[in-house]
Amino acid sequence: MLYKSTKNILLTAFAFIVLIPCSIVVLGTFKTDAEIYSTPLSLPKSWTLNNFRTLFDSGGLITPFKNSVIVSVSSVFITLILASMAAYAIARSITISGKILFFLFTLGLAIPGQVNIIPIYVLFVKLHLNNSLLGLVLVNIALTLPISIFILSSFFKDLSREMFEAASIDGAGHWRTFRSIALPLCRPAMGATGIFLFVICWNDLLYPLMLISELSKKTLPLILIDYRGEYFSSFSMLFTAIFVASIPMVVMYLFFQKSFIAGITAGAVKG
């Protein structure tokens, strides 16, 4: 009995600890600053969209939102294509070169991507890839390839060899087997990996902070950092900006909780 009630109290308490800060943000988007400070958790006295209006009238959020979408979607899309090709080649290879390649890619899991900021910065300034969305996409691809290849190749290795042998007896080449057999079979793994990558790219701060200084190229996390200075004492603005920046993730999470949890967890355990 004691065990059961302790358990229920703790579980409920932690659910509240998680949900209260999030509710403060959602409720805060409809409130004035004074209301947020005095009664952060109560319902707004009058539901207004003034905060959204102010934020969007200043025009500050639309461009970064667009930039974040462009960078994240193209990074994830290209990474998935390149990683699945490489993972397939590695998983099907029986030669030593496949093993060496796999080792080199896993090296990227051991070396934290954060330590490459200086060489990448110097290189990108030389190539005029700073202040460019293309530069961010390239960095994202390079940073997420190792983990994606790691997850996908373990998936390809689990597919039965006989199936591939049958395909090659029927005269299918490597490309054909990859496109018509391997890819359709690993759609769930690709989906989960894609979500994992999307969360990383959408939320990344370090590389954009270092590479982007032009306002028109900034992504959402960068703009939130700017707002931290600009609206330092106006949490109604900050909360509204956080709300807008989080919407795509939250909506996707509501629809695909299972793939989210599977993808992010697989990425964490294997990384």
Binding site: A89, I111, P112, V115, H174, L205, R228, I242, Y253, T265
Partner: protein
């Protein structure tokens, strides 16, 4: 077929990692041509740089607090949420939710909670009478800032670790618990003799992942305190970032990066070794 991936990866990951090693032997401001100075960056770091030692200490304390709290909470909640029922699945989904937010958003939300005047934490503590005016300035006071960020990190990622633990604990055969139940073992005895030893491989994964995450920490610290006050909450990556992009000591920052890589590799190696010694190579 692996060629395009490998080309991008070697150009933008392997090559930078290697050139880091090379850069760490230079005196270099990022503008003038670098000058070779051998291992002098490293000897200076080890003997003369109090700030670096302080930040390394900060990072270890940060990692320690996060690992202890996050592992304890996630193991506790995972044992509670082991069975798949509607309620447990719902709670896992709720607990996991912060993981999908960006570190910057989480940092800004907690900036509000920690605010000394109207933040939820101080306001609650004052109203129930356990805190006197003017209240604790969690992020502005060097004694608390680092730990305040550590708490935020635990709030951020405990749900993810709960899911990893649940997956690990569900591998434990139910017969073990049934037999223990028949023998009259208490909940605590069951946890001590079955759950804890059987979950050790998962614990090794959770601890190693959390430790490495703590040494990679940047976003949350940058969003909440930028390392302040007085470097009290600086961690390695924020220090490297500032050394390079605020003080323009590119060579010196590269040397710091090399030490960060060594630390992370050591942790990874230790984890692999612990797993192999205790459970064989799987």
């Amino acid at each position: 077929m692996a060629l395009p991936a490998f080309a991008i990866y070697s150009f933008l990951y392997l090559y930078p990692s290697i050139s880091n090693l090379w850069n760490s032997t230079k005196r270099w401001d990022g503008v003038l041509p670098p000058e070779f100075i051998g291992a002098r960056n490293f000897t200076y770091l080890a003997t003369n740089d109090d700030l670096f030692l302080k930040v390394v200490g900060n990072n270890f304390r940060f990692a320690f607090v996060v690992v202890i709290l996050q592992t304890t909470f996630s193991l506790l909640f995972a044992t509670f949420l082991l069975n798949n029922t509607k309620t447990t699945i719902f709670l896992r989904v709720v607990y996991f939710f912060p993981t999908i937010l960006s570190s910057v958003s989480v940092g800004l939300i907690w900036l509000f909670l920690y605010n000394p005047n109207y933040g939820l934490i101080n306001a609650t503590a004052k109203s129930i009478g356990i805190m006197k005016e003017p209240g604790i300035n969690w992020l502005g006071d060097g004694r608390y800032a680092l730990y305040a960020i550590a708490i935020t990190q635990v709030w951020f990622h405990t749900g993810q670790m709960v899911v990893i633990y649940v997956a690990g604990l569900q591998q434990i055969p139910a017969e073990l618990y049934e037999a223990a139940e028949v023998d009259g073992a208490s909940r605590w005895q069951q946890f001590k003799s079955i759950t804890w030893p059987m979950a050790l491989p998962t614990t090794a994964v959770v601890v190693a992942y959390t430790t490495i995450q703590s040494f990679r920490a940047f976003d949350l610290v940058y969003a909440m305190t930028q390392g302040g006050p007085n470097n009290a909450s600086d961690v390695l990556v924020t220090l490297i970032y500032n050394t390079a992009f605020a003080s323009y000591k590119f060579g010196y920052a590269s040397a710091q990066s090399v030490l960060l890589v060594v630390t992370v590799l050591l942790i990874t190696w230790l984890q692999r070794r612990t797993l192999r010694v205790n459970y064989g190579d799987r």
